[in-house]
């Protein structure tokens, strides 16, 4: 690597740090506001620290002047909005629903996509290339355009407002087939020959050779699928009515009206909604960030 100019990294660092502040500010705002009482939020929308904890307000109170600590609700417990969101807003139910949707969709998608990718990569059969082209073509249909068509199909199948109505369209993932096929093509065929000699049929090869060797791409694809399924919004919004089935995204969008615009509580629910993916991301970022480059550019 050529090190051209030594003084640049300092400027770069400052620039990036400023950018980080820009990136992180909304999260800080959300978290800070999630601790405020309703009155505090109405009086002071912009501060990151709830007024009752601000040093300025504490000093005013000590001096006997009127301060935030005189407002009703100044004894608001720190995590009160979080417990309210769970108790009244049933955010835990929505979170658990999101989790189930994401896990099931990911598991099924990975499995059936791997099956199909294996066949496209390693088997010869009439129509193979045509079918693959067809698959690529379906990737071009934007999701927004698919909303009504999918609803009409689900309606015809009688799955409207059911959990399966959310699962089934989620099982379709042409992109995953594409990615996995690329990866399977890179597995040396000698390994396959060796397995055949040992008596494995196609299933055996698939299960014992291909899959274990594809762990990284499977994990990456799995993580992407999981995140995509977790963040699903329009589709569950359209197909579900029964509150019990809402994933967190839909639940949050309704929360605003249900809680009569209790914004601190809404923000608490938002924090609880964003946190799981952030935790997942921190644990698995190696796969995710690498995966973007993989998906974007290479052929």
């Amino acid at each position: 690597m050529v090190e051209t100019v030594r003084r640049l990294p300092l400027f770069a660092l400052v620039f990036m740090l400023l950018g980080t502040l820009v990136m992180v500010y909304p999260y800080a705002y959300m978290v800070g506001s999630s601790f405020k009482s309703r009155r505090e939020f109405a009086e002071d929308k912009s501060s990151l620290i709830p007024p009752r904890y601000q040093i300025g307000e504490q000093l005013k109170h000590r001096r006997g002047e009127s301060s935030a600590l005189d407002w009703p609700g100044s004894d608001w417990a720190l995590f009160r909005n979080y417990t309210d969101a769970i108790q009244y807003g049933r955010v835990d139910r929505y979170l658990a629903n999101s989790f189930i949707y994401a896990v099931v969709i990911t598991a099924v998608q990975l499995f059936i996509n791997a099956l199909a990718a294996y066949a496209f990569a390693r088997m010869r059969f009439p129509g193979r290339d045509a079918l693959f082209m067809f698959l690529l073509a379906t990737m071009m249909i934007p999701t927004a355009v698919q909303l009504i068509p999918n609803f009409l199909v689900i309606r015809a199948l009688g799955l409207v407002d059911t959990v399966w109505g959310v699962f089934v369209p989620g099982f379709a993932g042409a992109f995953g087939i594409f990615l996995l096929r690329q990866s399977f093509l890179n597995i040396p065929s000698e390994l396959e020959h060796a397995a055949r000699i040992d008596g494995c049929g196609s299933w055996g090869i698939f299960w014992h050779v291909i899959l274990p060797l594809s762990k990284p791409v499977l994990i990456t694809l799995g993580l992407f699928t999981f995140m995509g399924a977790w963040n699903m919004f329009e589709w569950p919004l359209v197909v579900l009515s029964n509150q019990d089935y809402y994933p967190l995204t839909v639940g949050l969008s309704f929360f605003r009206q249900e809680s009569a615009a209790d914004w601190p509580r809404i923000f608490a629910a938002g924090v609880m909604g964003a946190a799981p993916l952030i935790v997942l991301f921190l644990i698995a970022q190696r796969y995710l960030v690498g995966g973007i480059s993989l998906s974007g550019m290479k052929t």
Partner: protein, 281 residues
């Protein structure tokens, strides 16, 4: 070994689940919606009268369908998004590349919006835009505000893509250029940009396709207002399909028109860049 017939159908068994689902939720679903677009259709009551091309006519010709207004708003949003992404993600990547140690940390921090549900971000920015002077209150600033949210959300993601593209540029090209006396701007213009062509095209196309489908922020923050300035095409389709009685056929027609627009665009860009052998698929 094995029954030849059985051998023949095995591949089809492997591809059947994935292809079956994909087939149903693309061809079949689009077919049904195409059918619905020629009818009066109610989400509850189903299809009623056949109306021929009336839904399409109404979308394209009648001003109160707001189809063209929505398309115009959407195109503005797309243009602002593309410009915004190129102006933020590329410089960020260029700067981030210089940093040796903190790169991974910055990538993580910048990536946060991409992994946060859009609904959460929309709820937070609803207030942030209010604090910044009520950007969502005026027809002139509401759509740009939404574009800012879109660009902010995608900054990290696109930065990572640009970083990958930049990493692919062989350093010896820069060395050679320096030997020839090229300054940094020259290097940027004649090495970086051309070598980044693939990435630039990719990012632009993905941004355009994504921006055409913006929905969550409109639904959560503005409901199409003020004065219809943020009514984007997905929102018009959604309202007509699901909130209004009997207009799902009209909404299907509008969705097909949107598909046609996106399709034409993607077709054009594929054609333009095909000869350059940029990427496959």
């Amino acid at each position: 070994m094995g029954n030849p017939f059985r051998q023949k159908i095995v591949p089809y068994l492997y591809i059947a689940p994935a292809m079956g689902i994909t087939f149903v939720f693309s061809i079949v679903s689009m077919g049904i919606s195409f059918y619905a677009s020629f009818h009066d259709y109610d989400a509850f009551a189903g299809a009623s009268a056949f109306v021929g091309l009336d839904n399409y006519r109404r979308a394209l010709l009648e001003p109160d369908s707001y189809f063209w207004l929505s398309m115009r708003n959407t195109v503005f949003y797309v243009a602002m998004s593309v410009v915004g992404v190129l102006v933020t993600a590329l410089p960020l990547a260029l700067v981030c590349q210089r940093i040796r140690k903190g790169q991974a940390l910055f990538r993580t921090l910048y990536f946060l919006p991409s992994i946060t549900p859009g609904v959460v971000l929309a709820l937070v920015f609803f207030h942030i835009f209010g604090i910044w002077g009520g950007l969502l209150d005026s027809a002139a600033t509401a759509l740009p505000a939404l574009a800012i949210l879109g660009v902010w959300s995608g900054a990290g993601y696109n930065m990572v893509i640009f970083l990958a593209g930049l990493a692919d540029i062989p350093p010896h090209l820069y060395d050679a250029a320096k030997v020839d006396g090229a300054n940094r701007w020259h290097q940027f213009r004649h090495i970086t940009i051309p070598m980044l062509r693939n990435t630039l095209v990719f990012v632009t196309v993905m941004t355009i396709i994504g921006a055409f489908q913006v929905f969550t922020s409109v639904y959560i923050m503005t409901n199409g207002g003020p004065e219809r300035s943020t009514e984007v095409i997905t929102f018009t389709i959604f309202i007509n399909a699901f909130s209004v009685a009997g207009q799902m056929g009209f909404a299907s027609a509008a969705a097909w028109l949107l598909f046609a627009v996106i399709f034409v665009f993607v077709f054009i860009q594929m054609h333009i860049f095909k000869s350059r052998n940029v990427y496959d698929g």
